[in-house]
């Protein structure tokens, strides 16, 4: 398959670019941050729903567009360019993917239309420690009759505050992982929030003997690991697409600065020390573009090596985004470390994005393990 966008995908990317340039420039990110770290703008979210972006990856049987992850990836990339805040990743990529691949028809019928039209939001509760570790879930779901009792503590829940429910990963006493859709109003839930350096709000949620009806379980017994693995792959790939947008934008702003900033009577872009560093970044970014589209296509084609593609993408993007945003700061000089210019926003968001769903080290190690070394 050719590693390029087809005509429809190109049109979607162009319209996302146009729409976001008009309605969600990076200044909006600043405004939301300065407004007590507001999570997102409700009007923008409604417009995003109307643009159809929330329906891209849902199948036609739920009135979705069945357009695929390459398309959603283009939207994520364009949002990354402007650090757009919206619950597209939490509610559509994470919860949406979990529901689409769920075996529970009732939950699908109840929730997919509501997620698509934006009337409800779900958040995904997986992490328990300060690092990504999907193979060591400590939260438990104990079955009694037709009910599970959930106990544990989840961290880093994206857009957790204000969500209508959570998809919670827990170890069941049936010997596998269960993914449960838990109503946010359930008894036994305590939430605290933290703002991280990207001005994003993340929830920590305590589940203290929360009762869940067995019909709220997404996966059949025995399929928990596979479902979780698929969600994590999808998350890593879509985040990589968002990171690609951040990288190209931070790099573009930096090259523009090298072209105009004058010192010693000439533009600093004339200095070879800076030229060569910029050229090296260009090369790494070319690689990033390739692995992102390849991995997005892999999601749509149900590629056999999707584990590998997801880890390649997240490892490469995680490594490159650190490099590019660090270099962007350094090349901007003093002004780069002030809050007056936007370049620091990319640097800060990069630190969070590269960590979510596995950082460079995690995915490089996973890639090697998948290759059996």
């Amino acid at each position: 398959m050719a590693l390029i966008l087809n005509e429809e995908q190109k049109m979607l990317k162009d319209s996302a670019n146009e729409f976001l340039a008009m309605n969600a420039p990076v200044e909006q990110f600043r405004t939301l941050r300065d407004n007590n770290y507001q999570a997102f703008d409700q009007d923008l979210w409604q417009e995003i729903v109307e643009m159809g972006w929330t329906a891209l990856t849902f199948p036609e049987e739920f009135n979705g567009l069945d357009f695929g992850y390459v398309g959603l990836g283009q939207v994520m990339e364009e949002m990354g360019k402007r650090l757009t805040k919206a619950p597209l990743f939490s509610s559509i990529v994470l919860a949406g993917t979990a529901l689409v691949h769920s075996a529970n028809q009732g939950l699908k019928e109840r929730w997919i239309p509501a997620l698509m039209n934006g009337t409800k939001r779900l958040a995904f509760a997986q992490d328990e420690k300060s690092y990504f570790d999907p193979n060591n879930t400590a939260t438990t779901a104990t079955k009694t009759g037709n009910e599970y009792t959930l106990n544990g503590c989840k961290k880093m829940v994206i857009d957790g505050a204000g969500a209508d429910g959570f998809i919670v990963v827990a170890k069941t006493d049936e010997g596998d992982l269960g993914l449960f859709l838990v109503d946010a109003e359930s008894e036994g839930i305590t939430m605290t929030t933290e703002v991280l350096l990207d001005a994003g709000t993340y929830a920590q949620i305590d589940f203290n003997a929360v009762k869940i009806d067995a019909s709220q379980r997404l996966n059949d017994v025995g399929n928990g690991n596979a479902l979780l693995n698929h969600i994590n792959n999808t998350a890593a790939i879509c985040l990589s697409a968002e990171m690609l947008g951040m990288i190209t934008e931070a790099f573009g702003q930096t090259v523009a600065y090298l072209q105009e900033r004058q010192q010693f009577g000439k533009r600093i872009g004339t200095y070879q020390a800076l030229q060569h560093r910029a050229a090296k970044l260009f090369c790494e970014i070319e690689l990033c573009k390739s692995v992102v589209i390849k991995a997005l296509q892999g999601l749509d084609n149900k590629a056999e090596n999707i584990d590998q593609l997801a880890s390649l993408a997240k490892a490469k993007l995680g490594d490159t985004i650190k490099l590019v945003t660090n270099e962007a700061m350094q090349m901007h000089g003093g002004i780069g470390v002030t809050d007056d210019v936007n370049i620091g926003f990319y640097f800060k968001r990069a630190r969070v994005a590269q960590r979510l769903f596995g950082d460079y080290n995690y995915h490089l190690d996973r890639y090697a393990r998948l290759k059996a070394y």
Binding site: G269, C283, E286, L287, K289, K316, A368, A372, Y373
Partner: protein, 397 residues
């Protein structure tokens, strides 16, 4: 050219596959160890063995020495789609190229673009017949990275040019029949505007060569000297004093060729070699530093391959990939150098063998030494980064 339908192309694939299976000798489907295993053509060369001769002659009869050139020049006249199919099928069967020729990969594209029809008819059929071994005369002792500073002089003597000067890094000059050369035809003009592109018969009086020994112990490189060499004026390609345009065009082809080092060979993944040589603990390589380095190399090798595909796919839709040849050259050779460095680490003392009485020993240390030239030849990494920053990123000079 008529475009073929999908079914026609599928038929072409099946016919091609069948023909290759029937005509490519088994020994010509094994990976080459080095460039010495290829047939190089030319007036004076001989085949290394009978299979090599059979394979070359079969492909010659089929007009597939250069399958995508026009039939009037002895090419196969294949469309891009057909040529891609042929390449894919040859790769699938592991068929070697029937000939290794700078005439095909470097000079040919330049002649197609810049030579007169008369010159094309004179030189291209000799290339497709494998009769001329071409070498390249670009660098000079004082013009390496600063190629445009070249000083080899061509004086206008009425019906001919008189050449004096010397070239360096002329691969296989001691074996080649002809050389394509950059010469200075105007010493007063700015340096880029006084260069011409000239074809010179290596048997001309006054041409001599001297081999250069590299740190790898041997090499195809030579120095080539021109001492009052007379070259007919009809051997000038393109416009007088506009040779730099041709030189740049040709360099993009050379960069792509060097950037793709090893890409055509069967290249084993490093972790497979590591499994044969190194200790494992709990299912992973016991040396954590080496394991990480191998994974980084594997990650970037694999994504670089995707990138070659992506940029080629984009080029097919009309996106200009010209300046990206510097990216390919830079990244491809840097990857190759780091790969050889890692391979040397993985193979331990075996990787340091220079000569051995044991016939099976792989003499890898020489390849390792040779790889150090990859990031220098065809324009150093630093030159490529300069081109990227100026031509792609538009950074000021």
């Amino acid at each position: 050219m008529e475009t073929m339908s999908k079914t026609d192309l599928e038929d072409f694939r099946l016919e091609t596959r069948k023909w290759l299976e029937e005509n490519c000798p088994a020994s010509m489907r094994t990976p080459v160890k080095d460039s010495g295993d290829f047939f190089w053509g030319g007036r004076n060369t001989s085949f290394k063995n009978e299979d090599q001769k059979i394979w070359f002659e079969k492909m010659l009869q089929k007009k597939w020495i250069v399958p995508y050139w026009d039939t009037k020049y002895g090419g196969g006249g294949l469309s891009d789609e057909e040529n891609n199919i042929l390449t894919q099928e040859m790769t699938r069967l592991g068929c070697r190229k029937p000939i290794f020729s700078f005439g095909i990969s470097m000079l040919g594209p330049a002649l197609h673009k810049f030579a007169s029809e008369e010159q094309k008819m004179r030189f291209l059929p000799e290339i497709t017949a494998g009769k001329t071994w071409w070498c390249q005369g670009y660098s000079e002792p004082n013009a390496g990275s600063d190629l445009a500073g070249l000083q080899t002089k061509a004086e206008d003597k009425g019906d001919h040019y008189l050449i004096n000067g010397s070239k360096v890094w002329t691969s296989y000059a001691d074996k080649a029949d002809w050389i394509f050369c950059l010469v200075r035809t105007d010493f007063d003009a700015p340096k880029h505007n006084g260069i011409s592109f000239l074809l010179i018969d290596m048997t001309s009086e006054g041409v001599s060569t001297r081999p250069i020994k590299l740190i790898s112990g041997k090499s195809p490189f030579c120095e080539t000297f021109f001492d009052n060499v007379k070259v007919p004026k009809e051997n000038l390609i393109g416009t007088l004093n506009d040779g730099w345009t041709i030189a740049k065009y040709l360099l993009t082809h050379e960069r792509q060729m060097i950037g793709g080092v090893g890409e055509t060979d069967v290249r084993r993944e490093l972790h497979e070699i590591a499994k044969e040589n190194l200790a494992f603990r709990d299912g992973v390589l016991a040396d954590p530093v080496l394991r990480t380095e191998i994974a980084v190399q594997g990650m970037n090798d694999s994504i670089f391959e995707m990138t070659i595909q992506r940029i080629m796919d984009e080029a097919k839709t009309g996106v200009n990939a010209g300046a990206l040849s510097s990216f390919f050259k830079y990244y491809g050779t840097e990857q190759n150098v780091s790969r050889m460095e890692l391979l040397t680490a993985i193979t331990g003392s075996d990787g340091l063998i220079w000569e051995s009485e044991n016939e099976d020993a792989k003499v890898q240390a020489r390849l390792f030494c040779r790889s150090k030239g990859n990031t220098i030849e065809g324009g150093t990494s630093e030159i490529q980064l300069g081109i990227i920053s100026k031509r792609i990123l538009n950074l000021p000079s």
